[in-house]
């Protein structure tokens, strides 16, 4: 009972923070709202029993990606003209389109949803099972991911270098 309540609480927090992302003006506040969303989603994952994913959500998203984002926001100019008028011209059509998308998604997903099972949240999926599955069955993907990370580092360095060459 308390777990269901917590699940609804975390889901509501995530949605509220996502709405706040749209209406807040300063990018730093948007970033903090996104951090709140991600932490709430980590709570949802933990309640579902996938503790590994919850930990990685906090470590990778909140710990790495969002800290990076906050650094960049602090690096850039505060008096930007995109801070004054925060919405583009497409506000009304985009809102209508978003509502339509939500309606289509709701209709499609509600109809074809598999029969509700009681399994959700009851099978805990901890670090041990994850590591065993990851390094026994999916070791090739593990290696490919490390290659991808190296490629990303090289690409980021190349982008920065190209910018230096163009700008003196």
């Amino acid at each position: 009972m308390i777990e269901t309540l917590l699940l609804y609480l975390f889901a509501g927090t995530a949605l509220l923070a996502a709405v706040a992302m749209l209406v807040l003006r300063h990018p730093m506040r948007v970033a903090l709202a996104l951090v709140v969303t991600m932490l709430a989603l980590a709570g949802v994952y933990a309640l579902l029993g996938v503790h590994v994913i919850a930990v990685f959500q906090v470590l990778i998203y909140v710990g790495a990606v969002m800290v990076f984002m906050v650094y960049v926001i602090m690096l850039l100019d505060v008096r930007d003209r995109s801070y004054v008028g925060k919405f583009s011209r497409l506000l009304v059509p985009a809102s209508v389109g978003s509502v339509l998308l939500l309606a289509v998604l709701a209709r499609a997903l509600w109809q074809d949803l598999p029969a509700p099972s009681t399994a959700v949240g009851e099978t805990a999926f901890g670090v041990q099972q994850f590591s065993i599955a990851f390094l026994n069955e999916y070791w090739l993907h593990f290696e490919l991911v490390s290659v991808l990370l190296v490629v990303a580092i090289v690409a980021a360095l190349a982008v920065i270098k190209a910018g230096w060459r163009d700008h003196g």
Partner: protein, 100 residues
């Protein structure tokens, strides 16, 4: 309402809000963050159905998605920095002359 239905609704809501944010906001960094929000929404659905099926492959896939998202941000942020250095603004309307 069933628990799975609630999670699917949460996922669809996060995705729609992220898409709305990308179209509606003018700041490039905010648009990037809304893209992250969409990715998070999709991840919620992936985790939900992986957990419902009770498969370890789903959790491994979610982990791989995390890594790809980190790599994507590591490349996207330098590009935004270069754009901002060139035009001295983060307003997306300043980049209408970009082609391709």
């Amino acid at each position: 309402m069933d628990k799975i239905q609630m999670l699917v609704a949460l996922s669809a809501g996060l995705f729609a809000l992220g898409l709305l944010g990308i179209i509606v906001r003018r700041n490039v960094l905010v648009m990037l963050m809304c893209m992250e929000l969409m990715l998070n929404g999709v991840n919620v659905m992936l985790v939900t159905f992986a957990q419902q099926a009770g498969s370890t492959a789903g959790a491994v896939l979610v982990f791989l998605v995390f890594v790809v998202a980190a790599a994507e941000i590591a490349i996207a942020i330098p590009i935004v920095l270069l754009l901002a250095r060139r035009k001295h603004t983060l307003d997306i309307d300043a980049y209408v002359d970009l082609k391709g």
